[in-house]
């Protein structure tokens, strides 16, 4: 049997490797996506006051702290038995949506777009943001300047650009002044323009290119799984609050439940070869890293959200969603569809921000409710950019943590990523002569999920080296490509 290892995966934070095993005919026999670090973050938290969690959990990752802050503060709301004020909920959602835009746009323009703007078979030294900057400097400059608006909003509200300190049990730490509101509204309106710009770019560069369209729609990147995402009371997308909805591979609703009941629906399978667990749907069961209706594997993130929603709550995003469904079908099983779905979600987020900033409670000083008793249990669930994020805390009667469990978006997608990598490898590899563009195309299957391995393994922020190794049928190493993170 031949083994191919991609370790760790480039452009992804944390550490991981992808191992691909070939048989004697040079065909892919199996593929593994493994996370090779473990840091025991949950254990680190036990014994601490629960109120510290919204400030501690963002430090898991230097890139996506906001989802942890928001999920954490929702969990401590419940643990302290406090119901946040309307103003707190509105401002939290507004600020968080700005992070959605920041995160999605960073992933699409800096990490995903080089594969399409430069081409998936371009030299690695060119297939990155620097290559794009050389090829189309105005595009990169425009994107960074627009994206900067979302960072400014995060900073204005969160106190810091990346590690917010404004969510507290039952509310937020400061009100929004009318002057701030004016600035936030102006920036939000510009972000709507940014979102429209992105969708136009996607159409021009990708949808109008038949080669790319075929790539997105083809079998290389297709996995037929269940999907999970959050919906509001109208069965439409919501990032901040709502119920979790699951659809089956045929698109029919499979379950809809209160996030507080997640343990009734989701279980976690453990494999000895990876530190990442494999969440699956309890009522279907774990059948291994396979797709189809008999396998409890589900996927989350942008494509999943657009698959489960009955529509988008804002008008321009709804138009974009209808076009997406027309082209991709519903549900769409095209893994590269995550990218397009992200751009539609950026538009929704920006439109929703424009709605929220005008709400009368936005500048109210009723920012926190201190009423409530410690319940000893708090579960906070949101849609992170990368999918459903669950923070589950338990405490003693004084609010000191006795148990912490995080199921992060990347972990929810663990089995899905394994399946996608294997399918891409099966379709792209034939023999042991595997060239770099083919390995990049396998990585594209993985990269579409925008996985955060720092969050998933709670591992080292800011470091993500990459190794690709290929083994023959006798497990001999026949090819290896390495890329390094900042430590080397």
């Amino acid at each position: 049997m031949v083994k191919i290892v991609i370790e760790p995966v480039s452009r992804l934070e944390g550490e991981a490797k992808i191992s691909i095993f070939l048989n004697k005919e040079g065909k892919v026999e199996d593929a593994y996506y493994q996370v090779v670090e473990f840091r025991g973050f949950e254990k680190f938290c036990v014994g601490r006051p629960a109120e510290e969690m919204p400030r501690i959990t963002p430090r898991i990752c230097g890139v996506c702290p906001w989802p942890h802050h928001i999920a954490s503060v929702k969990a401590v709301d419940r643990l302290y038995g406090r119901t946040p004020t309307k103003t707190a909920e509105t401002v939290r959602e507004f600020a968080y949506l700005s992070h959605i835009i920041d995160s999605h746009s960073t992933h699409f323009y800096v990490l995903a777009a080089p594969d399409f703007v430069m081409g998936p078979d371009a030299e690695p030294t060119e297939r990155n943001i620097i290559g794009m900057l050389r090829k189309n400097p105005d595009l990169v400059k425009q994107v960074l300047k627009y994206r900067h608006l979302s960072v400014e909003i995060e900073k204005m509200i969160g106190g810091k650009p990346i590690h917010p300190i404004f969510g507290i049990p039952g509310g937020i730490s400061h009100p929004i002044t009318p002057e701030m509101q004016k600035q936030l509204k102006e920036k939000s309106e510009k972000l709507v323009e940014f979102a429209q710009f992105g969708l136009k770019l996607f159409e021009d560069i990708i949808l109008k290119n038949q080669k790319y369209k075929d790539l997105i729609m083809g079998d290389v990147y297709r996995s037929e799984t269940y999907y999970m995402g959050m919906v509001d009371d109208k069965d439409q997308l919501n990032f901040y609050d709502g119920k979790l909805k699951v659809i089956a591979p045929d698109g029919k609703e499979f379950a809809k439940f209160d996030p507080q009941d997640y343990l009734e629906h989701i279980a976690e399978h453990v494999e000895p070869w990876t530190y990442l667990k494999f969440p699956y749907l309890k009522k279907v069961g774990w059948k291994g890293r396979v797709d189809g209706p008999d396998s409890g594997v589900y996927r989350v993130n942008s494509l999943a959200r657009l698959n489960v929603t009955s529509g988008m709550p804002t008008p321009l995003a709804q138009e974009a969603y209808e076009k997406f469904v027309e082209v991709m079908g519903k549900p769409s099983h095209a893994t590269l569809g995550f990218h397009w779905a992200r751009l539609i979600e950026i538009l929704y987020a920006a439109e929703r921000m424009v709605e929220l900033v005008d709400k009368p409670e936005f500048t109210s000083e009723d920012i926190v409710s201190l009423d409530g008793e410690i319940t000893g249990r708090g579960i906070g669930v949101i849609e992170a950019p990368r999918g459903t994020l669950i923070h589950h805390y338990e405490s003693d009667e004084n609010g000191y943590l006795t148990k912490v469990n995080l199921i992060v978006a990347t972990v929810n997608n663990n089995a899905g990523m394994c399946i996608s990598v294997r399918k891409a490898a099966e379709n792209l590899i034939n023999g042991t002569e595997v060239k770099e563009p083919i390995l990049n195309m396998i990585e594209m299957a993985f990269r579409a999920y925008d996985p955060c391995l720092a969050c998933a393994s709670h591992s080292l922020p800011g470091k993500m080296p990459m190794k690709i190794s290929i083994y023959d049928a006798d497990k001999n190493l026949v090819k290896e490509i390495r890329r390094y993170g900042k430590c080397d």
Binding site: F44, R59, V63, L144, S459, R483
Partner: protein
């Protein structure tokens, strides 16, 4: 205007060194000499923090082959060849983002950047506090930064 930016993660052992150095410098550097801030995040956010300053002093931990833990290394990032072949997470290598920001915000990027790096080993476990070696290195960096400011 000058910025002193301590970079690190306060719950990742020795990785907190840059933050601790910044906290100490904030106690002794007059506000009219430099802004002193702490930062914990990826490069794409880091460069947003540097905009509109004339000079930036970065203090961070580094893992460099051939150096021992606790050694202090001074670098001029503006004069290091970009390593454009390196990709990193949904974060990005320092030099890649430096080039992007120099091109995108040429008027707003600092003209001088000095990096004081404290060499550490891999920090793989969440914990608070730094080792004795790193504690000594922090003191050394604080003195070096004060000297640097006096000379410049």
């Amino acid at each position: 205007m000058r910025l002193i930016l301590g970079v690190g993660n306060s719950i990742l052992g020795d990785d907190a060194a840059g933050l601790i150095a910044a906290q100490r410098l904030a106690q002794i550097i007059p506000k009219n000499v430099a802004d002193v801030k702490e930062f914990n995040g990826g490069s794409i956010y880091l460069f947003d923090e540097l905009l509109d300053y004339d000079e930036v002093i970065l203090i961070d931990t580094l893992a460099i082959k051939g150096y021992d833990e606790g050694e202090v290394v001074q670098l001029d990032p503006l004069n290091i060849q970009p390593q454009v072949d390196v990709s990193n997470g949904h974060d990005f290598p320092f030099h890649m983002m430096l080039e992007v920001y120099k091109t995108t915000f040429p008027e707003r990027m600092p003209k001088k950047i000095r990096l004081f790096g404290i060499v550490t080993g891999p920090q793989l476990v969440f914990k608070e506090g730094v080792s004795e070696k790193i504690e000594r290195a922090i003191d050394q960096v604080v003195n070096l930064v004060v000297d640097h400011l006096e000379v410049n």
